[in-house]
Symmetry: C2
Subunit: 300 residues, 2 copies
């Protein structure tokens, strides 16, 4: 069984007084392992990897592996400087990660060659499988299909995490097929952008790199299992049931602040659990999120 | 004399084998002090601040102050997490900085309130004057004039570094006047985007936060002194003389890679002086830059 398939759940890294709330983080990881997600990706964007110091990242990676039981743990290693990435690779290896997630973080805009050489440097340094993390909303780097293809030829590239797919099922299928045709067969394609996950999975994506999966594994598993069992309509129906949640993501500037609020509401994270300067939802927005949680029965 | 006026020169922080080349950095700082720039801003975007670890930043700040003689040194303190910014503030204070430069770095997009509270936290923590650093090309955060106004009311805000101004002189003047009217009189307005500096200075900007000033102080001083002496046309003529340089900035993805290549060509920095993953100019581009240096007599 390829480990880079199914539901990869992205837990938050909750903060309390500017330090990682280790007990809350461990609680999230144990909850995911118990729920039966296929993998846990610690220190994804949802896990605020970009905001943590190297020693904090090493510690979080270790906690994730220690508390995930038999569930494979992937660890985000992105950083602005290549040598910092390689240091994170080393600490993820020491922690016992089964894969690495790497986004080309930018401050100065990067060229395609810059990004290729970054992945090349990581592939040369580690035996661990690598997930190529395409997240233009945070990195402001735009991958082309050609660049996917170049990077996917490197040894150890296991998967590509693509942003959301087109809403139209036919266009989504064409989009996934284009990437599929450009990369080796062993490289899985993973959808992100939770609102378009059902469409992406039905269009042929192998894995869902999921924000809500990290906090609400039940609804995420309902979608992925339906898609895996070729119950395409059930996957869509379950996703459409969550439409009020997707609306909050769109309205409140993305998934992170909303999912953090939900984790707070469910008692999984302390109030104001994101690292400053990210303040999280305003009180009025937080209340709106709580109403959606109640309406959809997400707290049960 | 307000220290946040005139030419503030932004030196590179040259790297060699993934470490700061301290000798090259000191050489750049001493060169700027001798040239008579009005201030030196270490660890700006040109100084690759975002790529350095906290201890590297403390060391660079100290070297800058130690070697700048009587020239005031401002130090960039931006980081993704507020507590990291405050740690950089402390090390800049210890180094003897006379001002701080703060850009709202982002990974997750920030709200206006997030950014206001970041500046608020810094203003509460330090007595040093702060330059608000608006650099959407690297931070992907867009300031509004209203946000300038809110932040400029905080104690200690000394200056606002705005991006390039409109090319049309009348529109540039209106743009600067709009910001001028929104902020207290003691807050200076600084243009960046070297290609539009002459226009910005002639339109009423008080200071030029200059990339080329950090490596080519002579041509930058020619422009600023003309503008300060109300020789507006001379400033424009001198800027237009440098048009081949501005063309390289536009063609090669910004000023950083080009100025790094020029510093390398002038023997001020070792070859490949930018931090990886930024590879710098290709060999062919580097040769083009060398031709422009020769054509404009920048090496003299």
């Amino acid at each position: 069984m390829n480990e880079f398939t199914g539901l990869s759940a992205f837990p938050l890294t909750p903060f309390k007084d500017d330090a990682v709330d280790e007990r809350a983080f461990v609680g999230l990881v144990e909850r995911l392992a118990e729920a039966g997600v296929d993998s846990i990706t610690a220190l994804g964007s949802t896990g605020s990897y970009a905001y943590l110091a190297p020693d904090e990242r090493a510690r979080v990676a270790r906690l994730a592996v220690e508390h995930a039981g038999t569930t494979p743990v992937f660890v985000g290693v992105g950083a602005l400087r290549t040598s910092q990435v390689l240091a994170n690779v080393a600490s993820a290896e020491e922690a016992g990660a089964r894969g690495l997630l790497l986004a080309p973080m930018t401050y100065q805009p990067l060229t395609e060659d810059d990004v290729f050489e970054l992945f090349h440097a990581v592939a040369e340094r580690t035996e661990l499988p690598v997930i190529v993390y395409d997240n233009p909303g945070t990195t402001h780097f735009t991958f082309t299909t050609d660049l996917y293809a170049r990077i996917a030829q490197l040894p150890g590239i296991a998967s590509i995490k693509i942003p959301g797919v087109p809403a139209d099922p036919t266009k989504a299928r064409e989009h996934v097929a284009t990437i599929r045709a450009a990369v080796p067969e062993h490289v899985t394609i993973g959808v992100s952008g939770d609102a378009s996950a059902a469409t992406g999975l039905n269009a042929g994506c192998d894995v869902w790199y999921s924000v809500i999966g990290g906090t609400l594994p039940g609804p995420a598993l309902a979608i992925i299992r339906a898609a895996q069992q070729s119950r395409a309509e059930d996957a869509v129906t379950e996703s459409e049931r969550l439409a009020p949640l997707w609306s909050l993501f769109a309205e409140f500037g993305g998934s992170l602040r909303v999912v953090a609020a939900i984790a707070e509401q469910l008692g999984l994270a302390p109030r104001r659990c994101l690292p400053l300067p990210i303040q999280g939802l305003s009180d009025a927005e937080w209340t709106r999120a709580a109403e959606v949680v109640a309406e959809l029965g997400l707290g049960q």
